[in-house]
Symmetry: C2
DNA sequence: GTGTTTGCAAAGTGTTTGCAATTTA
DNA sequence: TAAATTGCAAACACTTTGCAAACAC
């Protein structure tokens, strides 16, 4: 018996709808690039380049706007590992990252593969919004 | 019996010596600001402002250079939590951080207060250089 | 049609660099 | 005095913004 992945059409439209974002040409095209290819970590510049080379006419400003709108509506997660460059992760579930210092690339570590114990209480009046583990690797 | 902290002079000079850095006026002054006041998390801009208001004549470029030299020689640790701004931590021992999203401030979590278990192997050919835990808090 | 979204170019951050002048050893 | 360090101003990389034109509903 063989497993078959049925992908009748991009889920991009549904994602936009459920996020309450108008499915404009640019947003749809970017959503396809982002979500139709499994888990990804992209910078704005990268995504823009990729869009352009796929003949999607979209400005860099719109890519930035779109990435932030997607992040605000929970479709993406922003990751900061490197001063002066933001990455956006299409995997919004609970997980952590390897960061490859030489190449500047990221890769996912499934949430259950790392255990963080004894996380201290947030100080009075604050609540923990996320516990992020970054395993920096080199070599 | 009373414990007395004897601080005959700043340890800044010794720190520079042991790091093999020439103790210039600027480096000494910055080292005093950084290390004579316990654990600190500062940005370049912050440190420069502080220096200027303490009548230390030093340019922002030199502050950047100095922070990087200190980091390279192990006197400081660089922390990236916020896109587009680097912090430098005078505590170079094994520990983690709270990051206060609203104020942009950091505070230390002693190394032994968080346990990270089951850290996966670094991929073939890579070695782990650091495991960083950032507890983002909000509110 | 009306309100939203886009693209452009300009402006804004934070950081780095080139090089002459200054300082340190 | 020779080599290292500094300051300045310009250059940089990345990101955000203002606003008119284009678009979605």
């Amino acid at each position: 018996m063989t497993m078959v992945t049925v992908r009748p059409y991009s889920q991009a439209l549904d994602r936009l709808r459920s996020a309450g974002l108008r499915p404009t040409r640019q947003r749809l095209a970017l959503a396809r690039l982002l979500f139709d290819a499994g888990d990804r970590h992209v910078s704005a510049e990268q995504l823009h380049t990729e869009a352009v080379s796929n003949n999607i006419r979209v400005s860099l400003a719109t890519v930035y706007n779109t990435l932030h709108q997607f992040t605000d509506s929970g479709l993406l997660r922003e990751i900061v590992v490197d001063a002066g460059r933001s990455y956006f992760d299409t995997n919004t579930s609970d997980h952590h990252h390897f960061f490859f210092e030489r190449s500047g690339k990221l890769s996912d570590i499934p949430g259950e593969m790392i255990g963080v114990t004894k996380v201290p209480q947030a100080p009075e009046g604050f609540k923990i919004s996320r516990v992020e583990v970054i395993v920096r690797v080199d070599g």
